[in-house]
């Protein structure tokens, strides 16, 4: 035994806390900062609120009343538009899933060991994610005019940001040892990735793509609202007609509600089965 190992028993005055003092101080400061932000913004919104809140319930009932009963016979006119919206989400998700693969590989630290390339891809994806989907749609509608194409493009860019990030994080958690074995047996880069990496991330990949598909169905409704085609655009035009068209609009909302629920149900069942 060396001398350094003969240490005196530690004198403990009181048992140590689970968190160090520094962490506790930080958490406290953050907590109070958030509370202060809430208080400030509450105060701010109240000042800007026009009219009297006591009228709101009565108003709501009278406006909502104009939406009911929903005009379900209107559904026969909008099947095609609903289908377009779903197709838009399907096409956009599929294309995004394909483009994601190289981007996710390039932004995974364990695969792209060439640092500049890794940082460049990361930064690009971070930038992409800062653009809200609505802004993307407005930009693409401006570029390509009203229709499905700008909607699809907006969704592709929007999904790429999320997908590539989530998938590259999945890639970074894989077991690298089989990849080493593939390389040692003479495999080329693509072979190593295909046989050593893909089986490890495929379930997660599929699950994330389905998840982004769910998001895209909802997003494509909203995008239609700014002219990117599909059911959202019909909804917007109905609402513009005024009160007479409100029952039609309500029928659209109910249909969207049902479709989104069904798609989410199917997709979540699929994802459960995968993981």
């Amino acid at each position: 035994m060396s001398k350094s190992n003969t240490k005196k028993p530690l004198k403990i005055k009181q048992p140590p806390d689970i968190y160090p003092t520094k962490t506790k101080a930080q958490v406290t400061i953050i907590f109070f900062a958030i509370v202060a932000m809430y208080l400030y913004s509450m105060n701010w919104t109240q000042r800007d609120m026009v009219g009297d809140i006591t009228d709101a319930p009565a108003n709501m009932v009278s406006v909502l009343g104009k939406f009911f009963p929903p005009n379900y016979s209107y559904w026969s006119n909008i099947w095609d538009e609903m289908a377009l919206t779903i197709q838009m989400a399907v096409i956009a998700t599929t294309i995004a899933a394909i483009i994601t693969v190289p981007l996710a590989l390039l932004s995974a630290r364990n695969i792209t060991t060439f640092k500049p390339l890794y940082y460049a891809t990361r930064t690009f994806l971070n930038l992409l994610r800062t653009i809200p989907d609505l802004v993307l749609a407005v930009i693409f509608v401006g570029l390509f005019g009203i229709g499905l194409l700008p909607g699809i493009l907006a969704l592709i860019v929007f999904s790429l940001g999320i997908l590539a990030k989530l998938i590259s994080e999945t890639i970074e958690t894989v077991d690298m040892s089989p990849l080493e074995a593939m390389r040692a047996s003479g495999g080329g880069t693509i072979q190593v990735i295909w046989t050593g990496l893909v089986p490890q991330v495929l379930p997660q990949f599929t699950s994330l793509v389905l998840y982004v598909f769910e998001i895209n169905v909802r997003a494509s409704v909203v995008l239609g609202y700014v002219g990117a085609g599909g059911i959202g655009q019909v909804l917007q035009s109905q609402l513009r007609y005024g009160h007479i068209a409100f029952p039609n609009a309500m029928a659209i909302i109910v249909l969207i509600f049902i479709v989104v629920l069904v798609i989410e149900y199917i997709s979540s069942k699929l994802r459960e089965a995968l993981i």
Binding site: S177, P178, A181, A184, G186, I190, W194, T195, P199
Partner: protein, 257 residues
């Protein structure tokens, strides 16, 4: 034949992995490399298939200096040197057959391997290899359903499927219990004799080295400090290689099951 000629390797962080190594390994030999943890055994073995690249000297495999190799030649080199790892390095989610077929990667075009279009010959070779290590009944099991010893046998089958000229085994039994360790070493030895595949095994168990090796190379601090036939080796030799007296945990113990 593998010839280390004054080979040194300094890692980017300045650690000296190998120091003026001069070693010749002849065809068909079964060589065991011993040394304490950190002695440079893995660095030596991984230089041979260029998973690491020595920074000085020349390293000849079949009379060609492999330190000059770039991508295409590297793949050829790796195709003829099979490797076995301490942690088996199987794709856990894939089945045994797929794992074993990965041994054919170096012989297979990229597109063919992507679409799993391995030839009939490759597939029967894979199955024969599994039979040689007596694990053919697990052919459709997922790799993570197997025990450690079974996984190591699958990884031996993968190397057999590769039909290499050399086998490099880096601590193949370090994660196994004594009976399984002996079983794995017995398979390696048998393959070495039957197929005349030059085999280099890193071990840190003295008793196993003496039992299985034709020749023992001792390493300390990146240098080769002993090189001779296993028959000449005594406990004293190991004390010199290790630079300390032999302890209980330097022995694997147990006998072949």
């Amino acid at each position: 034949m593998i010839e280390f000629k004054d080979v040194s390797l300094v890692y980017p962080n300045g650690t000296q992995g190998l120091k003026n190594v001069n070693v010749t390994i002849n065809d068909g030999e079964f060589v065991v490399i011993v040394g304490l943890s950190g002695a440079g055994k893995s660095t030596l073995i991984r230089s041979i298939n260029r998973l690491v690249t020595p920074t000085n000297g020349s390293l000849l495999v079949d009379d060609e200096d492999i330190l000059k190799y770039r991508s295409k030649n590297l793949r050829k080199l790796r195709t003829k040197t099979g490797m076995i790892f301490q942690n088996y390095n199987l794709v856990k989610r894939s089945n045994v057959l797929k794992n074993v077929l990965a041994g054919r990667l170096g012989h297979t075009g990229t597109l063919r391997s992507i679409f799993n279009m391995y030839s009939k010959k490759d597939k029967s070779l894979a199955y024969e290899s599994l039979k040689r290590v007596n694990i053919e009944e697990k052919v459709y099991n997922r790799a993570d359903e197997l025990s450690g010893g079974q996984q190591q046998r699958v990884s031996i089958a993968r190397v057999l499927t590769q039909q290499p000229k050399y086998i490099l085994a880096d601590e193949p039994v370090a994660s196994l219990d004594p009976p399984t360790s002996h079983q794995v070493m017995t398979y390696l030895k048998k393959i070495n004799k039957e197929d005349n595949i030059t085999t280099i095994v890193n071990l840190h168990f003295i008793d196993m080295a003496m039992e299985y090796a034709d020749r023992i190379i001792g390493m300390r601090a990146g240098e080769v400090v002993f090189d001779g036939p296993a028959s000449e080796v005594t406990e004293k030799t190991f004390e010199e290689i290790y630079g300390r007296s032999i302890r209980e945990d330097d022995l694997r113990g147990g006998t072949e099951s």
